[in-house]
């Protein structure tokens, strides 16, 4: 386990470093000078040079990179080119929207997918199992933002039971309003995410139901729930954890789109505004934080998988 931990940590750090370099290089190599965001059309050469100096983009690329790396190491992500506000605190201010949205959507998706996926496998020979599976397959083809749009038009605009979008300016100091604001977005994310989760739960359940160990346990007099609990869960855990980690990361990214549907002031809307304004420090900061979150979830998922099924450690080089 220790050897694996060291190896996996090294991979995490390498991925982070590579992602950081890629972000930095890509944003500078791609066409589009950040200076344009600062100046109006028809700026003089002297003004352009002054703006470059102010942004630090007149220094050699390597110097710029080292300076940026030093800043990131001290949690300084620079300041927005448009609002001049520091990027770090702005990201921190938006996490209370994005993180609850992601986690609640994910938990609800799991709560939907586990029983439905189990039933789809358990009743695979009847009419209702294949029906559940078919609905889940259909769900895979539906874009998340369209689900959000339809839910808004039914529950917010027609029935007027929930807000169509936005977040209370006072934030979580008004918990009831915050929960109301997040209800439709969370349901949207959960519905879309559960479609792909159901497939995995169904496949894992089918594997367990058809396994020799379950048949043996049943032959020895164990009831089906008891055998599933003692043997099935443990055997299905490792692959399901791997999928859950990927899905959690996907949920987080899905939140980027959903936030736009519901006009929520989270990380996603911050990123999309920054892209349309070519606000490079903000793009870089949000991308870095998002990439870190995705890689960290993958790291934790891999560790949890090995705790649940130590056999995975043995096959490792």
């Amino acid at each position: 386990m220790v050897r694996y931990l060291i190896r996996r940590t090294a991979l995490l750090l390498a991925s982070l470093a590579l992602a950081g370099v890629a972000l930095f290089v890509l944003l500078r190599l791609l066409p589009g000078d950040p200076v344009n965001a600062l100046l109006s059309v028809g700026a003089t050469d002297a003004q352009i040079a002054a703006a470059r100096r102010e942004l630090g983009t007149d220094a050699p690329l390597a110097t710029q990179f080292l300076a940026w790396l030093g800043d990131v190491a001290t949690f300084d992500l620079g300041s927005s080119l448009i609002s001049r506000l520091p990027v770090g605190p702005e990201i921190a201010a938006r996490l209370p929207v994005t993180v609850p949205l992601t986690l609640a959507g994910f938990v609800l998706a799991v709560l939907i997918a586990v029983p439905v996926g189990f039933l789809a496998a358990y009743r695979a020979d009847r009419w209702d199992g294949p029906l559940l599976n078919g609905v889940a397959q259909l769900g895979l083809a539906v874009p998340a933002f369209w689900v959000g749009l339809l839910l808004v038009s039914v529950f917010a605009l027609n029935l007027r039971v929930l807000p169509a979008g936005g977040f209370p300016p006072a934030g979580w100091s008004d918990p009831a309003a915050s929960v109301e604001a997040l209800t439709l977005p969370v349901i949207t994310i959960a519905l879309v995410m559960s479609a792909s989760l159901i497939r995995y739960v169904r496949a894992a359940t089918l594997d367990v139901l058809g396994s020799d160990f379950l048949r043996t346990a049943r032959a020895l007099g164990s009831s089906l729930p008891a055998a599933m609990w003692r043997h099935g869960l443990r055997n299905a855990a490792a692959p399901v954890i791997a999928v859950l980690a990927i899905e959690l990361a996907t949920t987080f990214l899905g939140a980027v789109v959903i936030e736009s549907v519901f006009a929520l002031p989270g990380l996603g809307s911050m990123l999309i505004r920054a892209i349309s304004q070519r606000d490079y420090p903000v793009i870089q900061g949000v991308m870095l934080v998002s990439t870190f979150a995705v890689l960290a979830v993958g790291f934790l998922g891999d560790l949890a998988q090995r705790v649940a099924d130590p056999r995975l450690l043995r096959g490792h080089r």
Partner: protein, 269 residues
């Protein structure tokens, strides 16, 4: 039963593809023709009504289909060519280079498609080309990883050793032994990815990071219909239905192709 998937999938894709091809020859109205009056309800000349600027919805739907199908074809081409090329190179490379490529691919795959696409759009500006390039690159990483594994499996076979001993060059071995053995699996994978590519482009366009109007994609049409969803519900439903139908068609086709490529696959899944 599985044959049904393939037939239903191909039927959906053919109908949508045929309608899109027809749109190059004939459109009910030009995409920027606003003569129909704003938010006309469906019926009469305007089968699906008009949008808030008076543009015919059905014509826009057809034009949007070009973008959806174009994205699928473009991304599959970029992803397929680059992915197979890099997968082949990695499969043939020396041990340490192969390890390095494998780790690099794992990292690239961990990096989310949507973020990569946004990064590329941030640099090139919002355009269909940037979106297709980004989606294709993300696809290439997945295809390269698959190709690398498949190539290694083929290269370990005795018939490759025999070919090598009889003095056949590596390029000819690739053409006569490797590619014929791996293309069915790669093709099925590409078909599955095509559905995801259509969804990714729609999401990017919805966010305003895809093709700019008036030749809007289905994702952008849905964004513009969001504000008038109560007065003109068809505009918020039709592009979504088209999108779902195309993706289901592609997925069913891929599903059916997979069973053709590998008849031994367990039927229970």
């Amino acid at each position: 039963m599985r044959r049904l998937h393939l037939i239903a999938g191909l039927l959906l894709v053919t109908v949508i593809g045929g309608a899109v091809l027809m749109s190059y020859l004939w459109l009910p109205f030009a995409p920027d023709d606003t003569s129909g009056g704003r938010l006309t309800p469906p019926g009469g000349d305007h089968w699906l009504g008009t949008d808030k600027l008076g543009r015919d919805l059905f014509s826009q739907l057809l034009v949007g289909g070009r973008i959806a199908l174009g994205t699928a074809l473009g991304a599959v081409t970029v992803g397929g060519l680059l992915g197979v090329l890099f997968g082949l190179l990695a499969g043939f490379a020396s041990r340490w280079l192969d390890d390095a490529v494998a780790v690099a691919l794992d990292i690239l795959i961990a990096f989310p498609t949507l973020l990569l696409a946004m990064l590329i759009v941030a640099g090139f500006g919002a355009s269909l080309g940037a979106a297709v390039l980004a989606i294709g690159l993300a696809m290439a990483a997945i295809v390269a990883r698959l190709t690398r594994i498949l190539v290694k499996q083929v290269l370990s076979k005795d018939f490759v050793t025999a070919a090598r001993i009889s003095g056949i060059s590596w390029p000819r071995i690739v053409l006569t032994h490797v590619l014929p053995n791996i293309w069915p699996v790669v093709l099925v994978n590409l078909a599955l990815q095509a559905g995801l590519a259509v969804l990714a482009e729609a999401s990017l366009s919805y966010l305003g990071l895809g093709t700019p109007p008036p030749n809007a994609s289905w994702g952008r049409m849905l964004f513009e219909a969001q504000a008038t969803v109560l007065t003109a519900p068809v505009a918020a439903i039709a592009p979504g239905v088209a999108l779902v139908a195309l993706v289901i068609g592609i997925n069913l086709t891929a599903d059916g192709l997979r069973d053709l490529a590998d008849p031994t696959r367990r039927r229970s899944r």
